[in-house]
């Protein structure tokens, strides 16, 4: 077993509000190998976003540690680029400028203008958005915005790419297209990806491992399922794939089981 690129070790996260402590994450441990695609799934409010934000460095841990290449994560940084659910593009910049902001910050000091331009265009090309490079975020569709968000994150050449429900706000068709794009990118650049979702099919389709979180408060990792279906995967054929269907079944029953717990324990 090679050394994991990212490891979460006994992470506890508590939030304080008006003197009351709420336990969000309770002893979460996870190791992620280089090039692995991990989906994190769970009911809303179970703390999966908190977990991602811990890795992003946007939320501090109460106890435990998140390690990237054996170095503790203490704050946000470009080596852990995030694709936010609501795209978070800067509306006063064009698509090109949004990506260039990231490229300039990381390579502007060391590389020529031409090289920077090439990097921006390459990354826009990866998500097939070069045609709209001079448009502003307000002028393109939600799916296209999310593509640019992905291009911006990829342009930081992150060690781990963090996707926070990246397709949550999109319609089903656009969602499917983007899932294909992400799969293709993952196959091509072998990125290590951590993705949050609450869509079972999406979780299984994209991931090597699906991490299921139990319900909060005091959420922890309930179960981890390996998705053994061979890559490249094709959406249409997966419903005939037995291992895909059994993974799917396992996740659905896990979620249903935990759904009932919520009903008896209203927050």
């Amino acid at each position: 077993m090679p050394k994991p690129i990212l490891s979460l070790e006994n992470i506890y996260v508590d939030f304080e509000r008006d003197g009351v402590i709420s336990h969000v994450l309770d002893n979460v441990s996870l190791s992620v190998q280089t090039g692995e695609f991990i989906s994190i799934i769970g009911h809303s409010g179970c703390g999966k976003s908190t977990l991602l934000n811990v890795v992003a460095g946007l939320v501090p841990v109460t106890m435990g540690a998140a390690l990237l290449e054996n170095k503790e994560i203490t704050g946000p940084g470009p080596e852990r680029a995030v694709v936010f659910q609501n795209h978070s593009l800067l509306p006063w910049m064009t698509v090109y400028e949004n990506v260039k902001l990231a490229v300039n910050k990381l390579y502007g000091h060391s590389e020529s203008m031409k090289k920077v331009h090439e990097r921006v265009m390459n990354n826009l090309d990866l998500v097939k958005m070069t045609h709209a490079k001079d448009k502003r975020p307000g002028e393109i569709s939600g799916g296209m915005k999310q593509r640019v968000g992905i291009a911006r994150a990829l342009s930081m050449e992150p060690k781990v790419l963090l996707l926070d429900e990246p397709f949550g706000a999109l319609d089903a068709l656009t969602r499917g297209h983007l899932q294909d794009t992400v799969m293709e990118l993952h196959d091509r650049i072998k990125a290590t990806v951590l993705m949050i979702t609450h869509d079972v099919d999406e979780a299984v389709l994209l991931a090597d491992r699906v991490v299921m979180m139990s319900n909060g408060p005091k959420a922890t990792i309930g179960k981890i399922v390996d998705v053994t279906s061979p890559r490249p995967r094709v959406r249409r054929e997966l419903y005939n794939d037995r291992s895909f269907m059994s993974c799917r079944q396992e996740i659905v029953s896990f979620l249903e089981e935990h759904d009932q717990v919520v009903k008896f324990e209203p927050a």
């Binding site: 992003a56 460095g57 946007l58 704050g75 946000p76 940084g77 470009p78 852990r80 680029a81 995030v82 936010f84 609501n86 978070s88 800067l90 509306p91 006063w92 902001l101 990231a102 910050k105 502003r136 975020p137 307000g138 002028e139 930081m156």
Partner: protein, 310 residues
């Protein structure tokens, strides 16, 4: 807005043509037997008529109200002679002032254009300085919470001080008329800029802050790339209020300071009891104030295009 309308009015002749092209891909000149085409034609005609009526009324209504206003003024002024001059009197007495704003006979005997330009240049300097200082100060107290807590109460008190109340202090401190006038404009117009900028900076969406954090932008990059553009709509609200207040301040302070300038002109004419000239000058003051406000608003719209779109 009355200011946008001229470009529509000049293009009026061509509007019906483009209308037909856009609205009906179906042939508009249809045979009389085709009921759908007839109905469509009717729709197009109705829309054209509505647009035309709308355009006419935007120009006609202000003209009517102004005419009514002048008429009432004329009647009242004639009913009480010895008070304010009637519009017809103003036109007669102040002909040169109205029709030749550009004359210059040396000293303070100049056309209104030159008086207004002098006042405007003072506003330009005072307001320009207030804009720069106000945005910087606003950004500072918007970011540093301790600074906001310490300074906000002082700002809230200072901003209610009327422009002219600053004049004696600034004259005492600066000892000369010109810098005192500039200081009064500066100190009057800076508060709305500071306060609005601070609100804008404090309201930058968390998403943009997260982007800045992940990219590890340093403070200068953050200021120019994120903070300024995100706060632009708020900043321009402040600038717009500020420019209006600086115009108030300059007219008032020139009355006391003397020299050239529209405020001084009004005071000077008052001392020589030339009411008609004052009325003409008032209209200039109002129009210039209106244009200043529109200019800042238009600049704001141009600069912040896209910032509000999601």
């Amino acid at each position: 807005m009355a200011f946008d309308t001229p470009k529509f009015a000049t293009g009026e002749a061509s509007v019906p043509e483009t209308q037909t092209k856009e609205a009906s891909p179906v042939p508009a000149r249809a045979t009389p037997r085709d009921p759908i085409a007839l109905a469509q034609q009717k729709q197009i005609n109705a829309a054209k008529l509505r647009k035309f009526a709308d355009k006419v009324s935007t120009w006609l209504m202000p003209a009517l109200t102004i005419a009514a206003f002048l008429l009432i003024w004329e009647v009242i002024a004639n009913a009480f002679p010895g008070g304010l001059p009637a519009p017809s009197m103003v036109l007669m007495e102040s002909q040169e002032l109205i029709f030749n704003p550009f004359y210059d006979r040396g000293g303070v005997d100049k056309g209104l254009f030159w008086h207004v330009m002098t006042s405007l240049s003072r506003v330009g300097i005072g307001f320009g300085l207030a804009a720069i200082a106000g945005v910087l100060l606003g950004a500072f107290i918007g970011t540093v919470d301790l600074a906001r807590k310490g300074l906000d109460p002082i700002f809230q008190v200072f901003r209610t001080v009327p422009p002219l109340a600053w004049l004696p202090i600034s004259l005492a401190a600066l000892r000369e008329a010109e810098p005192s006038a500039l200081f009064v404009i500066f100190i009057t117009s800076i508060w709305p800029i500071v306060i609005n900028t601070a609100v804008g900076v404090r309201n930058i969406p968390q998403d943009y802050l997260n982007v800045a954090k992940v990219l590890r932008l340093h403070p200068v990059e953050f200021f120019f790339q994120i903070m300024l553009p995100a706060a632009t709509p708020h900043i321009f609200t402040g600038l717009r209020i500020g420019v209006g207040m600086s115009w108030l301040a300059i007219v008032a302070s020139e009355m006391l300071l003397g020299g050239v300038g529209i405020g001084f002109f009004i005071w000077d004419q008052y001392n020589s009891s030339r009411m008609s000239d004052i009325i003409v000058a008032l209209m200039w003051v109002g129009l210039v104030g209106f244009i200043l406000d529109r200019l800042v608003a238009m600049l704001g719209q141009y600069v912040s295009r896209g910032t509000t779109a999601d």
